[in-house]
């Protein structure tokens, strides 16, 4: 019996969130690799920074399937500044960006999903599988490593 191909419950809003739109993502300090830096001294972003929510958390947030939170930069800029996204999490967290087009090139969809107090909130989801696989996580991390917004201080210095 043939297995039905996965159909994401989310919609990739290509006409709402254009390919050149920046999507911002906080990075937990443990997902920063200070051993491998770019020429400007900024750390590599580990692929683990681009995981979907866990199943329990997705249910708690009333998501139909696991997905990953991001902030749409133009909407953040309209009401505050990107540094506010880190305000309650301490100076060790970083902020990186990918473009919607980079995500789509990895078979990801992007959907505007505002939440209370965060009108800029959106989700990135995998269009082919329920949870994002490592290949796509790596691709997103590679893109993000080239587009740092806020680099935290090196914890070793």
């Amino acid at each position: 019996m043939a297995i039905e191909p996965y159909q994401s419950p989310f919609a990739d809003e290509v006409d709402v969130i254009l390919d050149d739109e920046w999507l911002l993502r906080r990075v937990y300090p443990g997902f920063l690799d200070w051993e491998h830096r770019d020429p400007d001294g900024r750390p590599r972003v580990k692929a683990g920074a681009f995981q979907d929510y866990g199943e329990e958390q997705a249910v708690k947030l009333s998501y139909e399937s696991p997905a990953m939170s991001v902030a749409i930069r133009c909407l953040v800029d309209a009401v505050t500044n990107p540094s506010e996204l880190l305000a309650t999490f301490g100076p060790a967290y970083g902020l990186v960006a990918i473009t919607a087009g980079e995500a789509r090139a990895l078979n990801q969809g992007v959907m505007w999903r505002p939440v209370e107090g965060e009108p800029w909130h959106a989700i990135v989801f995998d269009k082919a599988v329920r949870r994002r696989k490592s290949t796509a996580q790596s691709g997103l991390a590679l893109a993000a490593t080239q587009r740092w917004l806020i680099v935290p201080p090196d914890p070793r210095s």
Partner: protein, 165 residues
Amino acid sequence: MASAPVVRPTRNVLSDNEWRPAGGASTLGVPAMLSSRNVQLSARAFWPRSWFWIDRITDRLLDLMHLPTGWDSYGARAVKREAADRTLQLLINVLDEWSALPDLLATSDGGVLLEWFTPDQELRIDVPATGTPTMFYRGPGGTWEGDLDEGSPDVRELVFRITGS
């Protein structure tokens, strides 16, 4: 997937009294403490007394089990005991005394993420609390991703290929 031949590191042969049991080993019948903390990890395996990294890995896993909820700023939970046990078991099975240790990270679902990385190659293993671990390898010959089972590439060989140890 790269198919270049790999020199397999030699595993020393040890006598019975050079090995010690991990907690929960079926021949003992009682779990052994792997840490002085309140939480114990167990693995159904034996390892040589000289394996210095067991304590390091155990401490790191216990740290991950005590992460606060929401540690990633997106609501992720701490590593589950079952995932930590399975990770310890897996590492005992695939590493040698002098193998390069992976970076151990938490997943958003309470699993453990193992990562060996160099700019040219990387190996990641996602160990969930339940279900089949998955593996991702990127190297000169391309990438491989799938379940970690009998049909997947040899982890020890890949670690040696990436790290040289």
